[in-house]
C-alpha cells in the first residue's frame, strides 16, 4: 500500500466510517487487485480529498468522453449558430418529411422544418431545464440537509419528516399534477414555461439531496477538526461554511450530476406527454413527441431517431460524468 495515510483519512469523511475504510484497505492488500492500479506516485506530499479525486478522474476515459460531450452540448445550447446556419422556424410544407439529404442532413419533419436545425436548437431547453432544476434541488436540499444535520433535535425531525412526505410523491406523477394545475396559455413567455418545469422538478426533487447532505454532515461532525473549531470559539456559520460544507458536499455533487441527466430525461418525458414544454418552444421532447405518431415512425423514422439520439447522448454524458466522479471519490477504490 503506497498510499499516504492522510489521504485515506480525508476520504474517510466522504461516506464510510473509519472501520470500513480500513477494512477496504485490508481487503485490497489481501486480494491485491486494486492496490496496484490506484496507488499515487507523486512525491510524499499528502493530497486533499479534492485533488485526490481529480487525480483519479484525469485517468478515467469515462470522464473525458463525458466532459467532451457536455462541452459540446453546452456550446450547442449557448451558440446554436455555431453548428447550423439554418433557422429552425423556417419551415416549408412542400418539403415535409423528406429523407436526409445534403440540403437537410437529418431530413425534414411534418411541417417541413429542418430536423438538424431543430435538434441543435432543441439543446437549449433541455440543458437549461437540467441545469436550473439541478441547481434548485441542490440549493434547497443542501440547505435543508445542512441545517438538519448540524442542528439536530426537533428541527432535524421536522425537516426530515417533511422531506419524507415530499419523497413519497413519485417525480413524474407529481410533475404531471403540478404542470397540469398550472397550464400554459398560448402567449406564455418561453422562460416562464421553462421555469414551471424547473419548479416542479425542484419541489419534488429536493428531499433526496437533503437526505444525502444530512447523512454526510452527520459523518463529518464528530471529526477532530470540527471539535477543535468549536473549542476555539468559531461561530456556527463559520464552522458550516469553512469546515462542514467542503467536506460533506462531495456526495451531493456526484448525485446532482447524475440527477442532471435524469432531469433532462424527465423534462423530455413531460414534454412528450404534452405538459412540459410545448410548441412553439423547440425541444427534443417536443420533436420526439411530434415524430412518434404511429404512421410517422414507419414512414419517417429519422424524425424520431435524431432528436432521440441527441437526447440520449446528453443524458448519458451527465450520467457518465457522475459515475466517473463517484468512482474517483470512492474510498473503497484504493
Amino acid at each position: 500500500m503506497t498510499e499516504p495515510h492522510d489521504s485515506s483519512l480525508a476520504k474517510d469523511a466522504l461516506g464510510s466510517s473509519g472501520a470500513t475504510a480500513l477494512g477496504a484497505v485490508l481487503e485490497d492488500d489481501l486480494s491485491g487487485i486494486d492496490a496496484t492500479t490506484g496507488g499515487p506516485v507523486v512525491g510524499t506530499k499528502p493530497r486533499s480529498l479534492w485533488s485526490d479525486a481529480w487525480y483519479d478522474l484525469r485517468r478515467d476515459p469515462l470522464f473525458w468522453i463525458s466532459a467532451v460531450l457536455i462541452v459540446v452540448f453546452i456550446l450547442m445550447a449557448l451558440f446554436p449558430g455555431l453548428f447550423t446556419n439554418k433557422d429552425p422556424r423556417q419551415c416549408d410544407l412542400s418539403v415535409a418529411r423528406h429523407i436526409p439529404s445534403p440540403a437537410h442532413w437529418f431530413g425534414t419533419d411534418i411541417q417541413g422544418c429542418d430536423v438538424y436545425a431543430r435538434t441543435i436548437y432543441g439543446a437549449r431547453s433541455s440543458i437549461l431545464v437540467g441545469i436550473l432544476a439541478t441547481l434548485g434541488t441542490a440549493i434547497i436540499g443542501s440547505a435543508v440537509g445542512l441545517i438538519a444535520g448540524f442542528r439536530g433535535g426537533w428541527l432535524d425531525t421536522l425537516l426530515s419528516r417533511t422531506g419524507d412526505i415530499f419523497y413519497a410523491i413519485p417525480l413524474l406523477l407529481g410533475g404531471i399534477i403540478i404542470l397540469y394545475t398550472f397550464p400554459n396559455q398560448v402567449g406564455t413567455p418561453y422562460i416562464v414555461v421553462v421555469l414551471k418545469v424547473v419548479a416542479a422538478l425542484a419541489i419534488l426533487g429536493w428531499p433526496s439531496i437533503a437526505r444525502l447532505m444530512r447523512s454526510s454532515v452527520l459523518q463529518v461532525m464528530p471529526h477532530d477538526y470540527i471539535q477543535a473549531a468549536k473549542a476555539l470559539g468559531a461561530k456556527p456559520g463559520r464552522i458550516i461554511l469553512s469546515h462542514v460544507l467542503p467536506n460533506a458536499m462531495a456526495p451531493v455533487m456526484v448525485v446532482s450530476t447524475i440527477n442532471l441527466g435524469s432531469y433532462i430525461a424527465i423534462e423530455a418525458t413531460l414534454s412528450y406527454l404534452g405538459i412540459g414544454l410545448q410548441e412553439p418552444a423547440i425541444s427534443w421532447g417536443v420533436s420526439i413527441s411530434d415524430a412518434s405518431g404511429l404512421g410517422y415512425v414507419r414512414s419517417a423514422p429519422f424524425m424520431l431517431l435524431f432528436p432521440s439520439l441527441f437526447l440520449s447522448l446528453a443524458v448519458l454524458a451527465f450520467i457518465f460524468l457522475g459515475e466517473a466522479s463517484q468512482n474517483a471519490f470512492d474510498p473503497k477504490r484504493h
Binding site: 481487503e27 487487485i33 419528516r161 417533511t162 419524507d164 412526505i165 415530499f166 413519497a168 410523491i169 413519485p170 417525480l171 413524474l172 406523477l173 407529481g174 404531471i176 399534477i177 403540478i178 397540469y180 394545475t181 398550472f182 397550464p183 441527466g261 430525461a265 423530455a268 418525458t269 412528450y272 406527454l273 404534452g274 405538459i275 420526439i288 412518434s292 404511429l294 415512425v297 414507419r298 423514422p301 424520431l304 432521440s308 437526447l311 440520449s312 447522448l313 443524458v315 448519458l316 450520467i319 457518465f320 459515475e323
Partner: protein, 307 residues
C-alpha cells in the same frame, strides 16, 4: 416483529396525510384558479366555477377543505369526469391490463436484471463486468419513450416478432411493452445486484464456506446471492413509482387500454378531474407498495425488525 409492523404502520400515517395534503394544496389551494384547464382551452363558464367551488367547499377554511377532501378520498370518490363517469369506475375498468403489464415488467427486472448482475459480480473487473456496467448506463440514459418507439419500430414493424400494438391487452401482446417498461429498472437492478454481490464476497460467512470446500457456484447461489438480494427486492418495490410513470408512456406507445393510457388521453383532452384523480390514485398505490416492501424487508432481514 409485531412491534415492527405496528411502528411501520404508524409511521405511514403522517406520510399519507402529508402527501395527500401536498397534492390537495397543489390542485386546489395554491394561488391561481383551480378551475383553469378544466374546461378545455376556454375559461370555464361561471355556473361551472360556482358548482366546482361548492363541490370542493372552496369557500371554507383550508383545513376544513382538506378534511372534506380526505373524507372523499377515503370513500373512494375521485370525482366525475367530462363524460359523466366516475374516475373510479374508469380506473376499475382498466387496472387489470396495467397490472398485467407491470407484472411482466417486474418479471423481466427480476430475471434479466439479477442474471446480468450476478454475471458482472462474479466476473468482477473483467470484460463482461465492464460491458454490463457500461451497457446498463446506456440503457439508463435512453428515455423510455425512445426505447418504446425504437422497440416498436424494430421488433414490431421491421422484424415482425411481436404485435405492433396491444389493443386488447392479452398476455402475448404485452410481452414487448413489458420488456420496454422494465428496461430502465433492469439496468438499476443489475448494478445493485453486482455491487451487493461484490461487497458480500469478502464477508466472513463466504470465507467459511470456501474453507469448508464448497464450490464457487454453490457459494454464489446459496450464500452470497441470497444476502445480496435483500436490497434488490426493496429496490424493486420502491421502483414501483417510476414503473407507473413509465406505464403512462408505454401504454400510449403500444396503444394499451390501461390506466396509463387513460391518464395520457385525459391530459390531451384537458380532462382535469380524470388526470388529478387517476394520478392521486397512483400515488396512493405507490405509498401502499412502499409499506408492503418495508414489511417484507423486516421479514427477509431479521436484523431490521429486532431493534
Amino acid at each position: 416483529m409485531l412491534k415492527y409492523v405496528i411502528r411501520r404502520l404508524l409511521q405511514m400515517i403522517p406520510v399519507v396525510i402529508g402527501a395527500t395534503f401536498i397534492l390537495f394544496c397543489l390542485v386546489f389551494a395554491l394561488p391561481g384558479d383551480p378551475t383553469a384547464g378544466r374546461c378545455g382551452d376556454r375559461p370555464c363558464p361561471p355556473a361551472y366555477v360556482a358548482a366546482f367551488r361548492a363541490e370542493y367547499h372552496l369557500d371554507k377554511p383550508l383545513l376544513v377543505q382538506y378534511g372534506l377532501y380526505l373524507g372523499r378520498l377515503l370513500h373512494g370518490d375521485l370525482g366525475v369526469n367530462f363524460y359523466g363517469n366516475t374516475v373510479v369506475s374508469e380506473l376499475a375498468a382498466r387496472y387489470p391490463v396495467t397490472l398485467r403489464l407491470a407484472f411482466i415488467a417486474v418479471l423481466v427486472e427480476i430475471f434479466v436484471g439479477i442474471a446480468a448482475g450476478v454475471i458482472a459480480g462474479v466476473r468482477h473487473g473483467g470484460f463482461l463486468d465492464y460491458l454490463i456496467l457500461v451497457s446498463s448506463l446506456v440503457v439508463i440514459s435512453i428515455p423510455i419513450f425512445v426505447i418504446g418507439s425504437l422497440a416498436q419500430l424494430v421488433f414490431g414493424m421491421k422484424l415482425g416478432w411481436f404485435p405492433v400494438t396491444a389493443g386488447d391487452g392479452s398476455w402475448s401482446q404485452l410481452v414487448l411493452p413489458g420488456f420496454v417498461l422494465g428496461a430502465l429498472s433492469v439496468a438499476y437492478v443489475a448494478r445493485l445486484t453486482r455491487a451487493n454481490l461484490i461487497d458480500n464476497q469478502h464477508a466472513d460467512y463466504v470465507r467459511t464456506a470456501k474453507a469448508k470446500g464448497l464450490s464457487g457456484f454453490r457459494i454464489v447461489t446459496i450464500h452470497t446471492l441470497r444476502n445480496s438480494l435483500i436490497p434488490v427486492i426493496t429496490f424493486i418495490g420502491y421502483d414501483f413509482g417510476s414503473l407507473m410513470g413509465g406505464a403512462i408512456v408505454t401504454e400510449q406507445i403500444f396503444n394499451i387500454n390501461g390506466i396509463g393510457n387513460f391518464i395520457f388521453r385525459s391530459i390531451n383532452q384537458r380532462d382535469g378531474v380524470s388526470v388529478v384523480g387517476a394520478v392521486t390514485c397512483l400515488v396512493l398505490v405507490y405509498l401502499l407498495a412502499n409499506l408492503l416492501v418495508d414489511l417484507l424487508y423486516g421479514v427477509l432481514d431479521p436484523r431490521i425488525s429486532h431493534d
